[in-house]
């Protein structure tokens, strides 16, 4: 007897007990749907994050100082400890291509052409290499020491008239004072350029740390490297002009984070750059070491490594869900086995008829096994469809690109077959060894 014939007969008997069959497969549907939904979401999330890391970003090391074991990803618990001196010393290292500070600066608003829009966290001070050439859609990187900015499309488009290269923007600081800046470049995407910013699209204005951060420090006096400047008087003050008596100077500016660019994305180069940079920053004669003490530790990682932490959390969650799904599948299998046993008893007479007209034991076995497998596979397919629907809805809701986990769909069907075989084996064996004489007499 051919498998197709088994399938036809199995389908006939499943179809005659629709409700029962549907309820039986529910356990499988839920189990498979849970896995597929989560895998779809996980894969989409991963693609959404990893897709934003350009190959060139692979050679950037993102460093910050925080108490060891602080959880929460990039910049979690970061303290401003890095000075311009430290950065320069790292920058001069042979193993390092470039090093610069990173500092988000709080603002009140952005203004263009007399139009004011509130904006608290758009301003980011960094070194010119922070704007990687391939991310610039129009214009160029800003230059250190110049009142220049690179903006992203979200900023360019948020005013009535689009901001373009060469236009002047006005930045209104926390204190209310205003600084003007010339737009020299526009990026190709509104997503963050590094793990420090996060990857979600948001308006951002990138400016050089000098003058925008250093002059802020100039204004508020020593000790505060933060972005909580309240009384900055040095609006249009000459930036970074060295020592100025007792006043705080650019030299005292401490950065929240540091970006170190290795010569290449090669793992060896990155490790060397990391080791050399850490050696300088942690050495006793660095400015950072004054503040590091025993409490703070410098973390230096690439985007990929930082995302790995997220990945680990995702993996952990995934294992958890798969565990629950496995339990659901076991329960579902028991359900199928149970209903198959009932079915075998109910159809004892039919088994007798089939055997009387020449059905071999293996035919009867195959028939019931096929029925269990069909139930399992239907459960798997419906579960997959449901899981994909939920996964896509979730991905759409949190606005990440959809990824089709094809291999899991195939896996789900394989699991459905396996569940069917395992749960159908014993009932089918019971059916196969039914004595036709007794079965024909069965009422």
């Amino acid at each position: 007897m051919r498998p197709l014939e088994f399938g036809r007969l199995a389908w006939r008997s499943i179809g005659s007990h629709r409700l029962r069959s549907a309820l039986t497969t529910l356990g499988i549907i839920i189990g498979i749907a849970a896995v597929i939904a989560f895998v779809t979401l996980g894969a989409s999330l991963q693609a959404g994050l990893l897709g934003d890391i350009s190959p060139d970003d692979q050679r950037n090391l993102y460093g910050w100082a925080a108490e060891p074991e602080t959880e929460g990803g990039p910049l979690a618990g970061a303290q401003p400890v890095f000075t311009q001196d430290d950065l320069e010393r790292v920058d001069e290292l042979e193993d390092v291509d470039a090093a610069y500070g990173y500092m988000p600066i709080s603002t009140q608003a952005l203004a263009y052409d007399g139009e004011l829009t509130p904006q608290s966290d758009a301003l980011i001070a960094a070194g010119p290499p922070y704007i990687r050439p391939e991310t610039i859609d129009e214009g160029r990187q800003f230059e250190m020491g110049e009142r220049e900015a690179v903006i992203n499309p979200a900023v360019a488009g948020q005013f009535e008239e689009n901001v373009s290269v060469g236009d002047e923007l006005t930045i209104v600081r926390q204190g209310g004072e205003q600084t003007s800046v010339t737009v020299v470049g526009i990026t190709d995407s509104s997503e963050g350029l590094s793990p420090f910013e996060g990857f979600e699209p948001s308006p951002r204005v990138y400016v050089p740390t000098d003058p925008y951060y250093t002059e802020e420090v100039d204004g508020i006096g020593a000790g505060f490297g933060g972005d909580e400047a309240a009384e900055d008087e040095a609006d249009e003050a000459d930036p970074a002009d060295g020592d100025d008596g007792d006043a705080a100077t650019a030299e005292d500016a401490r950065f929240l984070a540091i970006v170190v660019e290795a010569p290449s994305a090669d793992e060896g180069d990155i490790d060397q750059a990391r080791d050399s940079a850490l050696a300088v920053l942690e050495s006793d004669d660095s400015d950072a070491s004054e503040l590091l003490g025993d409490d703070l530790e410098i973390t230096m990682q690439t985007s990929t490594e930082l995302l790995q932490q997220l990945q680990d959390i995702l993996d952990l969650l995934q294992n958890f869900i798969v565990g629950i799904a496995a339990i659901s599948l076991v329960v579902g299998s028991i359900g199928i086995a149970n209903i198959m046993l009932v079915s075998v008893t109910e159809r004892t007479r039919e088994i007798g008829i089939m055997k009387a007209v020449g059905a071999q034991n293996r035919d009867v076995l195959g028939l019931f096994l096929t029925e269990a497998v069909v139930l399992g596979v239907i459960g798997a397919i419906l579960g997959t469809v449901l899981g994909l629907a939920v996964g896509y809805a979730g991905a759409w809701y949190i606005d990440i690109p959809l990824v089709y986990p094809y291999e899991y769909v195939a896996l789900a069907v394989a699991v459905g077959i396996l569940v069917g075989v395992l749960s159908g084996l014993y009932p089918a064996w019971r059916a196969a060894r039914t004595d036709p004489i007794d079965a024909l007499r069965y009422e």
């Binding site: 008829i353 009387a356 007209v357 020449g358 059905a359």
Partner: protein, 255 residues
């Protein structure tokens, strides 16, 4: 009429080991020629069902030999017996025993499914037989959409689908009213006339009298064999009426 032997039983004994051994059949000798029409009668407990099971290759004898279609059933393993049953025996039951979820056509085609016959071939054969039993317009009906007489005709068509050596009918008209019973038995006659070997188990005299001979069973032994003149259907005894004296086609039947 063919001259070979469809089924032969030689000194057949079947013992069931219950609380104490029960001899369902106790030394039965019987030969059923090809193309013959035999009825088996007897009170319940006389061994009719056991005899049916043995001839139908559903069971094996405790002792003696049962030869069906030239093969000794006792020598075969379960698989071979199933194949032999499928190919050489057609069953007709009192309760019809059709598959409830299969149409008349599919029921008739079912035995050939297990013989690996292709779908088209099966369907053609089943259609032909259903037309011969007068159900050409009921092929796609499910059993519960058919009357008792129609169901039994489907069952007869199914029994004939593999061109069996023998058709075994167990109380074939037990669930039918008089009129449909006559229709079904007429069909039996028709197929018998066409050369099919028939073995009918019944407790009703008028059903048995359609046969060429009646085998009377009592307490697991053949009480007597009654030869009937098929042309005028009047009973004609071939043996003495002493119940202790067993008669059969083969000598030495004493157990």
């Amino acid at each position: 009429m063919a001259t070979g032997t469809a089924v032969s039983l030689e000194n057949v004994r079947k013992t069931y080991q219950l609380a104490e051994p029960v001899h369902a059949l106790d030394g039965v000798d019987l030969e059923i020629p090809e193309g013959s029409y035999t009825a088996i009668m007897g009170p319940s407990g006389s061994g009719k069902s056991t005899l049916m099971n043995l001839v139908g290759c559903l069971d094996t004898p405790t002792d003696g030999t049962v030869v069906v279609g030239g093969q000794d059933v006792g020598d075969l393993d379960d698989r071979e017996r199933t194949t032999l049953r499928g190919m050489t025996v057609g069953f007709v039951f009192q309760t019809f025993n059709l598959m409830p979820r299969l149409t008349a056509l599919e029921n008739v085609a079912l035995p050939q499914l297990f013989q690996g016959v292709s779908r088209n071939e099966r369907t053609d054969r089943a259609r032909e037989l259903l037309e011969r039993v007068g159900l050409g317009d009921r092929m796609d009906h499910l059993p519960n959409e058919l009357s008792g007489g129609q169901r039994q005709r489907v069952a007869l068509a199914r029994a004939l689908v593999n061109d069996p050596t023998i058709v075994l009918a167990d109380e074939p008209s037990g669930n039918l009213d008089t009129e449909t019973e006559a229709d079904v038995l007429d069909l039996f006659d028709e197929f018998h006339d066409a050369g099919t070997t028939m073995l009918v188990v019944t407790h009703e005299r008028h059903v048995a009298s359609r046969a060429e001979r009646i085998v009377h069973l009592l307490d697991g032994q053949i009480e007597r064999i009654e030869e009937l003149d098929s042309s005028d259907a009047s009973p004609r005894s071939s043996a003495g009426h002493d119940p202790d004296e067993r008669t059969g086609s083969a000598p030495g039947a004493n157990g």
